[in-house]
Symmetry: C2
Subunit: 266 residues, 2 copies
């Protein structure tokens, strides 16, 4: 397989990857991102909608599995393969002791804001990358394969979010920078806000499952913003024990989204 | 308020705290742990069952809120107050830019293995500290206030687990080092294993909610161990979309535990 070796800090590609690895804004500006590890690389390989421009291998620590995958990505996706000195690779990798494969991929273009009849998860100011990725994973698993995110939410295609998403991004339609008002304008169904401060009991209140449902989840601490609450049709409260103040946003989303899924199945 | 100032790396208390901060085994051996931040310190203060032996303040960066809390802990819990040079404090703290308060507390003694009629979450080989803490938080919120953990699970009173638990530990009874066989021997109710590989649909299968229910959650990747599956009365599968391989263990637990809670409420 034809490979380019990179050993210099000052290599222009290395500079570009460093930005993509460290700056979420660079991901937006360049329209490209990095994914790390076997699982994400395999998910990208298997998905015809995902392009892979480059494969980055660590010179000494890339495993045989990583090398085979690089070969397949070169063949199937026309990816170029680069071998990086280990210290350069480690600088880019979000984890220590990885298997030595990363890919540069273009961020998929999003269509115009059209939700059709899809259920939607709306992320309202979720700044933590790990939480954002886990939320996308949970949403796709629950059948909420369209994600919309407020301008204050983390860049959803940033490497850390992709890592926590475990490949779920590739099965989702993702709209970023969507204000609550724009969301309300484009979504034709019931919008529910998960609100620890009040609202009807999630388990006993009605849910309009004959049409699309959207859930709004806010950040831990502040919760759903006033602007997002203003566009919700109703608030729902997860009935938790008094001994506990609140749920982690990932757990709360799992409970709400799967309650919608349960009602559709029953 | 009477305070002892600690400025030397070699101070014997500092050595002890360093071990508690870094080594989960030290938490077990010493029967003591460290909690960091306003929220955990307040939760400890408010809970009559939790003792606090020492308050650690950072010399320059402790906030007024932290100082007030230290005063209250000294008064209500007879805690000794230590002021640490900032570099020593930072060495112990699990987060950067904290508010400058930590507490040393004894790990609460557990009773003999007796679950009574309580619902139980059994953690089967959950090694990740963040996951373990989030699971305890979710369990307490769902009314599963008794936690049992296999010998291969993280030390549940380690500082990182406490941090992710957000105070839920203080509202829970926690039994560690419980083998699946010992758990089966002591628990008088239905034991369900959440298993992504098979089992009946969580939402449509029966659940014996007239008696206590226990959920077994396994680690991501390996899932529930054979030894734990062997003591379960049944396996349950969360019906997820084919586009997604699996749920994060925290999300899976939220769905299972709150499904039990929902059935009890309805």
């Amino acid at each position: 397989m034809s490979r380019t070796i990179i050993e210099s800090d000052a290599n222009p590609r290395m500079k570009r990857w460093r930005k993509l690895a460290k700056e979420a804004r660079a991901v937006k500006r360049e329209g490209a991102t990095l994914i790390e590890g076997i699982h994400l690389a395999e998910s990208a390989l298997e998905n015809p909608k995902i392009a892979v421009d480059a494969v980055l291998l660590s010179e000494k620590t890339a495993t045989d599995e990583a090398l085979d995958l690089a070969e397949a990505l070169m063949r199937e996706k026309n990816a170029r393969v680069y071998v990086l000195a280990d210290r350069l690779y480690d600088e880019l990798a979000p984890v220590e002791h990885g298997v030595g494969i990363m890919c540069e991929m273009p961020v998929p273009k999003t269509d115009a804001l059209d939700f059709g009849s899809a259920d939607v998860l709306y992320l309202d100011g979720i700044q933590d990358a790990g939480n954002a990725g886990t939320l996308i994973r949970t949403a796709v698993a629950a059948g909420f394969r369209t994600i919309a995110a407020s301008p204050g939410t983390a860049q959803l295609w940033a490497p850390k979010v992709l890592r926590a998403g475990m490949g779920a991004h590739f099965g989702a339609r993702i709209f970023e920078g969507v204000t609550p008002e724009a969301f309300r304008g484009a979504f034709k169904g019931q919008i529910l806000a998960a609100d620890a401060r009040g609202g009807e009991n999630l388990f006993t209140a009605p849910m309009a499952t004959d049409g699309p449902v959207a859930w709004i989840m806010g950040a831990e601490g502040p919760g759903v913003s006033d602007a997002a609450l203003a566009v919700a049709d109703a608030r729902r409260l997860i009935p938790i024990e008094a001994a506990c103040e609140s749920l982690n946003v990932g757990a709360a989303a799992a409970v709400c989204l799967f309650e919608t899924r349960r009602r559709r199945m029953i």
